[in-house]
Symmetry: C2
Subunit: 215 residues, 2 copies
DNA sequence: TAGATTGTTAATCGATTAACAATC
DNA sequence: TAGATTGTTAATCGATTAACAATC
């Protein structure tokens, strides 16, 4: 890799999409692709694609383009897709359960190894071949299994205490579906937020203001 | 409003968060707040906050700051939170069901008015007091109810045909959880994408590369 | 070799931050 | 009036796009 660790969020945010498109190209039988062909498919500029890839070193060949399989593998490696980080789900409500069942963790770099909820009525419930455990058992579980990350599908008010517990158990990375701002209290954690509410409200804004524009 | 319709995505993306924080401040009993106080709470610069608000016109008062209730109401109006757009869910799998049950549509500018699935075995199933309908009934439903938007919780391969049907029924706005790129085929639609897979892979990248950095 | 296409430098564009005059 | 804080202009920063020499 070229620059040590100062890849911008914009570039990082495009990596999964590159990885996905390259997978599709591979399935379609493409062996090579040029930045300009890829740019048309993805709706980016060829220039941006070349800039992006070059953050990680030259994957292409002048006059030829990029080898699809090789490029995909490289990006997969950069993402760390084969590391299968151990992740647990905390909060087995509607959303948590759906996330556990819907996502193909294997293909996204993770392995779902445990599900926890503080509601004892859920204890033992089977979700995708994992039994829901009591949150009281989190410490001993973590001592044995040493998960890398946790999915937080809990109410905002539970955010701080739950995260505190998880951090004390050695978990440092979070996929956060709550509005609780983890890094405010735990600045050394790695956090990826999913704010569904904000996303829905953004749609609302766009509907409102496209209608206004038409008037 | 100042500029007609060229508010940047960055600004729009912050509106729901402003709205949420102002709601919290209101509950805490704040009557007024300055851009600098708000900036500390939200982790932004005071400058950015003032710039953002000024895109929509002056909501503040020199020497005083912003009236919390009033500012919140203004932003709510800009978003169109009181329009209660009629939205339907298409695809009542794990994720769709969770979305329907988890989200407080009322508070985000929408009203969930129907749930559809092409799997006839789900027809009649009650989700949050709405019975799942067959997708075959979509046309007649839309003629009567005239929904504004649809939540797409369907597999990518179904994306095009389902969207085509919905667009032909007069639906122009989409909250899209699939990887299908709606605007490629329907450039005049309003689309807000939620790409959970990409988000999870971004977390994977960050874990991988923070670990690298420590080495 | 000639043609194609990358890797990389330079130019542009847009968003964020800083500064300060206007004004409550 | 004096102090505070906005609204707004100017400066900076970063990301995207354009251009082109390097090279396969």
């Amino acid at each position: 890799m070229k620059d040590e660790n100062n890849i911008s969020k914009s570039v990082i945010g495009r990596l999964p999409r590159y990885y996905r498109f390259l997978g599709m190209l591979l399935e379609e039988g493409y062996e090579r692709i040029s930045s300009s062909e890829l740019s048309k498919r993805m709706g980016l500029t060829a220039s941006q694609i070349r800039q992006d890839f070059n953050h990680f070193g030259g994957f292409g060949q002048q006059g030829y383009g990029y080898n699809v399989a090789q490029l995909r593998q490289n990006i997969g490696k950069i993402i760390g897709i084969d590391n299968y980080y151990k992740i647990i789900l905390v909060g087995a409500g509607n959303l948590g359960r759906a996330i556990a069942q819907h996502l193909n963790f294997q293909k996204k770099g993770f392995r779902l190894v445990g599900i926890f909820d503080s509601d004892e009525r859920l204890t033992g419930l089977d979700i995708n071949n994992l039994a829901v455990r009591s949150f009281d058992d989190i410490s001993s579980f973590c001592k044995n299994i040493k998960p890398d990350a946790a999915i937080l599908c809990i109410p905002e008010r539970a955010g701080k205490s739950v995260t505190e517990k998880l951090v004390s158990c050695g978990i440092t990375s979070f996929w956060n579906f709550s509005h609780y701002n983890i890094t405010d209290d735990f600045p050394d954690t790695i956090v990826e937020n999913v704010h569904l509410n904000d996303s829905l409200m953004t749609l609302c804004y766009n509907i409102t203001n496209s209608a206004e524009a038409k008037k």
